[in-house]
């Protein structure tokens, strides 16, 4: 039995021995479920629904995109695109999955499908179901609406097409998303939502205890804490956008899995007392509006973090807890002076985020602890902040390096400097020498140069397939320059600084 001791979790919450979900509107119960069976495998192998494709099995191509609907902490139904290839089946307990086979309404192609045909947006067709589903997710959530090409690009950043060159797909997207929902579709959607609410009401904490592994979905932090105390060896999972790949690519096995994303209290985002607390299970999609309210400077960075379907699953806590040296949130959070909030059965502790990272893929999280929240001080008036990501491809790529810069300038001089880099060391790491070099200086050319020079002593980057050590060093220096030019422009003529903002010459 998992968790071992039945008394450990609250009696009020039911425990379900069997995974239940809605598939294209129909309730399905799944028994004898291997916990790491992916939704994609399940659809293709068990349901004879081969419309959802496998292009990579690692969340990077979008061929497997489906939509998932569930009910958030406030009782609202959320619809989102997700990558079926890296979702473990039990994580969909109590949710509604729609596949490409389920979008046509009463045998009539959905507007999204029709637009894809009309715009000649499929060639080999293998990517097409994924595009249809990314667009359908947006249609389901927002239609009808007018979208710009840039919005389409962001929406489709997680879908690769090798054939078309995207132009016809973008045309189809703009055309389809502006179509009003038909009465027949609205009626179907309502029926599905009703079914989802009924299903969700009847779903409790999922407990699987099969030969292939154990699974637990706690619904409260108390339940989670007790489970982790009893099973410190259990693997915590949230959005599965890191762990899913360990299963599909590294073929790792997980004897015990504990899913944290069904705990309402870990989904809170709250600004109070001069800080923003972001619950660990908040997805990047959910966190984005909150972060942008306080740090609009993060806009480009957040849009370049993975892709919409990944951001719809990936959690803030997962990114931070995973502690990858090339994770994109840490340089920004560390620069902003964020803390990580850790909880366990024995209480709560916080520490500066940079202190959380001990060595390559090693964190200060103790057995029985989980990441509960990230706590970020709200911006002071004197604060200048930027975050930069450099990668081979603008969208949906892993950083070659990533940098967060924050300085506080009072009466013209730097009183605080926090600079953090990803991709420059075995962990996300502060550039302490460069920070020191800036203190007490005005943000001028000379300060920039000393910071650049100091930076050389801060890091010994490595060469890998993303870039060479020399490139990383050079660009790290250049990003210091960019930061200076952006926050303290010299001269009256504002120099063009960002490719993303560039227009075609008239």
């Amino acid at each position: 039995m998992f968790p071992q001791n039945k008394q450990l979790y609250t009696k009020l919450i039911m425990s379900d021995p069997c995974m239940k979900f809605l598939l294209n509107g129909e309730p399905v119960s799944v028994t004898d479920l291997p916990p790491t069976l992916s939704l994609l495998q399940y659809l293709r192998q068990n349901c004879a629904l081969p419309g959802t494709k496998e292009g990579c099995a690692e969340g990077d191509c979008g061929a497997c995109t489906v939509t998932v609907a569930d009910i958030d902490a406030d009782g609202r139904i959320r619809h989102r695109a997700v990558n079926a290839c890296i979702q473990f089946m039990p994580a969909l307990h109590g949710k509604a999955v729609t596949t490409v086979e389920g979008v046509a309404v009463g045998g009539v192609p959905h507007p999204v499908q029709q637009a894809m045909v009309d715009c000649h947006a499929s060639q080999c067709g293998f990517c097409t179901p994924g595009f249809v589903m990314s667009l359908y997710a947006d249609f389901r959530a927002h239609a009808p609406r007018e979208v710009t090409r840039q919005e389409v690009d962001s929406l489709l950043a997680g879908n690769l097409c090798r054939c078309t060159g995207y132009r016809p797909i973008a045309d189809a997207a703009r055309q389809a998303l502006a179509v009003p929902r038909s009465p027949a579709e609205s009626a179907r959607d309502e029926a599905h939502e009703k079914a989802l609410r009924t299903l969700a009401r009847g779903c409790g904490e999922l407990v699987l205890d099969g030969a292939a592994g154990k699974w637990f979905t706690p619904k409260t932090e108390a339940s989670l804490a007790r489970c982790l105390a009893a099973h410190p060896d259990a693997r915590i999972i949230a959005g599965l956008t890191d762990v899913g790949l360990w299963a599909t690519k590294q073929l790792r096995t997980f004897p015990k899995l504990v899913l944290v994303s069904e705990i309402d209290s870990l989904h809170r985002v709250a600004a109070s007392g001069g800080r923003l607390d972001i619950g660990a299970a908040v997805t990047w999609s959910e966190a984005m509006p909150h972060l942008l309210r306080h740090w609009p400077e993060m806009q480009e960075h957040l849009l370049r973090f993975a892709s919409p379907p990944v951001r719809n699953s990936a959690t803030v806590g997962g990114n931070v807890a995973n502690g990858s040296p090339i994770g994109d949130s840490m340089p920004a959070f560390i620069a902003l002076g964020a803390e990580v909030v850790l909880r366990s059965l024995s209480g709560e502790r916080t520490m500066p985020l940079e202190a959380f990272y001990l060595a390559y893929q090693q964190t200060a999280r103790a057995d029985g602890e989980y990441v509960a929240a990230i706590r970020v001080p709200l911006p002071a008036r004197s604060q200048r902040f930027r975050v930069y990501k450099v990668s081979k491809r603008f969208d949906q790529d892993i950083s070659a390096l990533c940098a967060g810069f924050m300085v506080k300038v009072e009466r013209g001089v730097v009183v605080e400097a926090r600079i953090a880099f990803g991709g420059m060391a075995a962990t996300p790491k502060r550039a302490t020498r460069a920070e020191q070099a800036l203190l007490g200086r005005t943000l001028d050319e000379a300060a920039m140069q000393v910071a650049q020079e100091a930076l050389d002593g801060d890091f010994q980057p490595i060469s890998d397939m993303r870039s060479s050590a020399a490139y990383r060093r050079q660009v790290a220096r250049n990003l210091v320059k960019r930061f200076f030019l952006e926050v303290a422009p010299a001269g009256e003529h504002a120099t063009a600084l960002r490719l993303a903002d560039l227009e075609v010459l008239p």
Binding site: V100, H120, R149, L497
Partner: protein, 774 residues
């Protein structure tokens, strides 16, 4: 170039219409069946292969007990289990199906695990303990040259006297360009599903561009006659050349297991395995010296084109031949020597990829032109024009360096039109002004032409067959040699048949390519699919039309030559009847309503030993202008606007053709920008999944992407309805992106930049930081 069209090229309806892809409605519904979607037969088994972890060395021992004992494993197969030929390969049979005593690249298959599930097979394959006697791998060009390591012997094309011409030229320069490879990254990975049939026969569903070669490879490995084997392919989820030769491997291994175990066996490669196992576009190094005059006209060119071919020959011969021929792109080269080195390296075996050596040859040639322009401080476009082949076929400047006369040259006309429509001159000035003002973001602009030869250079491949049935209710089924990989060849051929019969396209059923319906098929490659198979299908349709016309004529007493097929009716003078009625009557009168069709391309003939002759039936032309910007702090680049004018002749289907132009362009752009293959010092490919290997996404394609099919375009040769092949040529339009980036780098640092392909941020930054060169 407009001429009076012969009657054979006049169209009435289906041909020329912008019809959707025949499977579009299935694609969007998830209802198009790919091989992995075929319902599996009970007891189907799955395959994963064990791969070499060493790039070069002797295979000392393989300990496979743990593999055999793993859960779900039914069999483990190695070279000793092969009843037929142990080595395969399209030209040279130099690829052991499973390593025998040596390993030659990291990823080389050692054995296959057959298990009850794919996951079980993949898990088990990792349990092998293999002992190697390692040797230092040959990876680099110079290492290979020093070690005399070639998959095919060096070859030299000589025309005129390059050395003397260069020596006598008023200007000279020499340079080197490195060009990276490219993974095909078909969205559907390699897959085959083998189902044993009675009496030793085998049905293989294969995602293959070359069903016949797949059939023969299976037969050779099984040691049976090819007539025992049927290969079927309804569609591929992309191929791009990557399934021309390498699909056969997967089919052969699946069939081997199926024959041995008498069960259906599927071999679907995981994406990472696909990257590690299969070949990619050839990496090239071009070293050259060129002599030219003050106008930039090339007087003599000496070039060495070395390619890293990987561990086996595959199609490297033809790929490199095409590179050698396309160095000239649209330019006349009077005195030229090109040495072609097909180097054997310990990597995946480089193979076909859209363009087939053409892109590397053309980029090398365009790089020469760009160097000349920068050296002389001329606008590269002016230098291009100074070098174009003559439009007068009788001029000596209309002769290619491989001895083919250019009889259909429209490049100047087309480029001039694009120059005007894209406002090249005005934008050139605007870009220069921007660059004078802006220190950190530099812009670049380039216009490059494409002139791409159409036909297989292996002349015998220029043939195709079709099988056309008219059922006695009037419904029509067409089958032909081409495979559908998204390029729309099924749609185009159906349009041809509909056109011939005067029917609607939806009345023509297209069926899966199948070696038991149409035999001895050539690969669907070299952009030839619609050209060859459209003609073959047309021949079949005309045969049936002739029989129906003769039947009507004899029944009703008019001249068969007056019979027309139009709008679903058959007519002669005032007489007319619905198609269905005529077909039915012909059937009742015992007229055969089925026919094969065959086509062989006229005029072509080429000697691969000297690289001389007429390799191509005709040329496809196009040009593109790209405007880019680079960030000189990070080296990142962005494509801002593209204008394309492309000649598809008289389009069979403008919607499909435009799709090919746009898709090809973007694929070429990926090759030259973000798609970087990185092998480490041990020879291990480090970029083997979309997480590390970045093909373009939507945001890499500018909203200002203006693509026009050239209205005046028309094939001077008697191609199918005067159309032109469109699969490959547009890929090379993306040279304009690379050269625009080079232009921006030049703006950042002056002089002649040293920028290799792909122009990743790192290469751009490096090129910007290097001081100005002379």
């Amino acid at each position: 170039m407009k001429r009076d069209l012969p009657a054979s090229a006049v169209r009435t309806g289906a041909v020329g219409a912008a019809l959707p892809h025949d499977s579009a409605h299935l694609h969007v519904a998830g209802a198009a069946t790919y091989i992995d979607d075929i319902p599996e037969l009970a007891g189907t088994l799955h395959i994963a292969v064990g791969m070499s972890t060493v790039a070069r060395g002797r295979l000392v021992a393989m300990q496979l007990d743990r593999v055999r004992a793993a859960a779900g494993v039914v069999a483990v197969l190695g070279h000793a289990d092969i009843p037929g030929e142990k080595c395969i390969g399209p030209v040279k049979h130099d690829e052991p199906v499973f390593a025998i005593d040596r390993v030659e690249y990291i990823g080389q298959p050692l054995f296959a695990v057959v298990a009850t599930s794919l996951e079980a097979a993949r898990r088990a394959a990792r349990l092998a303990q293999v002992t190697y006697e390692e040797e230092p791998p040959i990876l680099d060009y110079d290492d290979a040259i020093r070690a005399n390591s070639h998959v095919l012997p060096p070859l030299t094309l000589v025309t005129g006297d390059a050395k003397a011409a260069i020596a006598a030229a008023p200007y000279r320069l020499s340079n080197r360009l490195l060009m990276g490879g490219q993974e095909q990254f078909y969205l559907e990975g390699q897959i085959a599903y083998a189902c044993p049939r009675e009496d030793g026969q085998m049905l293989v569903y294969s995602s293959t561009q070359h069903p016949t070669e797949t059939q023969f490879t299976v037969a050779h490995v099984l040691g049976v006659a090819p007539s025992q084997v049927v290969v079927e392919c309804r569609r591929m989820g992309g191929a791009f050349g990557g399934k021309e030769t390498q699909a056969a491997y997967f089919a052969a291994v699946a069939a081997l297991a199926a024959a041995k175990l008498k069960r259906a066996v599927k071999f679907r490669a995981d994406r990472d395995d696909d990257f590690m196992l299969t070949g990619k576009r050839h990496e090239f190094r071009a070293d050259y010296e060129v002599g030219f005059d003050a106008s930039g006209r090339i007087l003599g060119l000496e070039m060495t084109l070395a390619s890293r071919c990987g561990w086996s020959a595959d199609l490297s011969g033809s790929v490199n031949d095409r590179a050698v021929m396309h160095v000239s792109n649209a330019y006349h080269l009077a005195n030229v020597t090109i040495r072609s080195l097909r180097l054997k390296t310990n990597q995946q075996s480089a193979n076909a990829f859209r363009g087939f050596g053409g892109p590397q040859g053309i980029l090398a040639g365009e790089h020469v032109i760009d160097d000349i322009a920068r050296h002389l401080k001329l606008d590269p476009l002016a230098v291009r024009k100074a070098n174009f082949y003559s439009a007068d076929p009788s001029s000596p400047r209309a002769m290619t360096h491989y001895g083919m006369r250019v009889e259909d040259n429209v490049i100047l006309e087309l480029v001039t039109e694009l120059e005007a429509s894209s406002e090249y001159a005005r934008r050139r000035a605007a870009v220069d002004q921007w660059n004078a003002r802006e220190p950190l973001i530099k812009r670049g602009l380039a216009l490059t032409p494409v002139m791409f030869g159409i036909s297989f250079t292996a002349s015998f491949l220029n043939q195709a067959g079709a099988l056309l049935h008219v059922y006695h209710d009037g419904s029509v089924m067409i089958n032909h040699a081409a495979t559908e990989m998204g390029q729309g060849v099924y749609t185009k051929v159906a349009q041809v048949v509909a056109e011939e019969f005067g029917l609607q396209v939806r009345q023509v059923r297209i069926t899966a390519t199948d070696t038991s319906k149409v035999p001895n098929t050539s690969p669907t490659a070299a952009s030839s699919g619609a050209d060859l198979n459209g003609k073959a299908a047309q021949a079949a349709a005309r045969e049936i039309k002739a029989r129906l016309a003769a039947f009507c004529a004899s029944t009703h007493g008019f001249d068969a030559a007056t019979v027309e097929f139009r709008d679903g009716r058959v007519m002669a003078g005032a007489w007319e009847r619905p198609w269905e009625e005529v077909v039915r009557a012909a059937y009742m009168a015992r007229v055969s309503l089925s026919s094969t069709g065959f086509y062989s391309v006229p005029k072509v003939g080429f000697d691969p030993a000297t690289l001389k002759g007429r390799p191509f039936y005709y040329f496809a032309y196009g040009a593109a202008v790209s405007e880019v910007a680079i960030d000189i702090l990070t080296g990142e680049s962005r494509l801002l606007r593209v204008d394309v004018l492309h000649d598809v002749g008289r389009s069979l289907n403008p919607a499909i053709d435009r799709g090919q132009v746009e898709g090809g362009f973007v694929q070429g752009m990926g090759w030259l920008t973000s798609e970087e293959l990185v092998w480490d010092a041990h020879g291990r490919l480090r970029t083997h999944a979309p997480s590390t290997y970045k093909i373009p996404v939507s945001s890499d394609v500018p909203e200002a992407f203006k693509v026009s099919l050239w209205e005046r375009g028309e094939n001077v040769e008697d191609s199918i309805f005067r159309s032109k092949a469109v699969g490959e040529p547009p890929l090379m339009l993306a040279s304009s992106v690379f050269l625009a980036i080079r232009d921006a780098v030049a703006a950042a640092r002056g002089g002649v930049p040293a920028l290799d392909a792909p122009a990743t941020p790192e290469r751009i930054l490096l090129a910007c930081s290097a001081g100005p060169a002379a």
